[in-house]
């Protein structure tokens, strides 16, 4: 099995709290869904824990399409996390 690289992108206060807009990670075994990915990221440090402290309000997109947290990450190239949108 090939370890696949995943591009992560953060926006708005998620980006500010983590301190970076973008990073590349290798998905560990056991991370199947977006929710798994969020849980794994929360363990990476206090800045991640702060950004994702209320994981239920965090929105996710896989390859630039909105997805619910139970969606499998699958062969995604890019997963983005951000607060509820406030455009318009």
């Amino acid at each position: 099995m090939i370890m696949s690289e995943l591009n992560l992108r953060y926006f708005a206060w998620v980006r500010e709290r983590i301190g970076t807009a973008q990073e590349t990670v290798v998905l560990p075994a056991g991370v199947i869904t977006v929710a798994d990915l969020l849980a794994w990221l929360k363990e990476r440090g206090p800045e991640y824990a702060h950004a994702f402290e209320r994981a239920e309000i965090i929105r996710a997109a896989i390859d630039q399409t909105h997805v619910p947290h139970e969606t499998p990450v699958g062969t995604a190239r890019e997963v983005a996390f951000f607060p509820p949108m406030t455009g318009g």
């Binding site: 926006f11 509820p84 949108m85 406030t86 455009g87 318009g88």
Partner: protein, 151 residues
């Protein structure tokens, strides 16, 4: 085909309307919606609009395609700015054209409700006193406005 743009520059509603209606005489109704930056009683210096490049355009295109499948539109334009926007300046423009007014009105409202809640843009406030402001919170009212289109 809808016209969709995500840009820093201001836009001109009249130019966009003309691009839809020029040279044709089957359009009976044109609705424009312009969303502007409010000064919040003088406390706001500017809004900083962050967006997700690529996804912003793609999401607006998805919403536009939905509108075109729901209403018999003869033209649809959606333009959303990003970057620093001062009070009084426009942020977003939606133009819809149809033979009849109800389709043009409903499609414009639908587009705005969806843009508000699904297009990946985020607003940060810069206060007039120089202080860094907060990120604008999403409003339940906007989610409720969007939900009515599921009926």
């Amino acid at each position: 085909m809808p016209t969709i743009r995500v840009q820093t520059e201001a836009f001109d509603a009249a130019t966009e309307v003309n691009a839809i209606t020029a040279g044709r005489s089957d359009v009976g109704a044109v609705v424009t919606f312009t969303g502007l930056c409010r000064d919040e009683g003088g406390t706001l210096a500017a809004l900083e609009l962050e967006h997700y490049p690529g996804m912003a355009e793609a999401e607006i295109a998805r919403v536009a395609a939905q509108a075109e499948s729901r209403w018999p539109l003869m033209g649809l334009t959606a333009i959303h700015r990003f970057g620093r926007i001062a009070p009084g300046e426009p942020i977003v423009l939606v133009v819809t054209a149809s033979a009849h007014r109800s389709a043009a009105f409903e499609a414009a409202e639908f587009l705005m409700d969806y843009l508000k809640t699904r297009a990946p843009f985020w607003k940060k406030e810069h206060h007039a006193d120089g202080a860094q402001g907060d990120w604008v919170s999403a409003k339940d009212a906007d989610d409720a406005a969007m939900a009515r289109w599921d009926r």
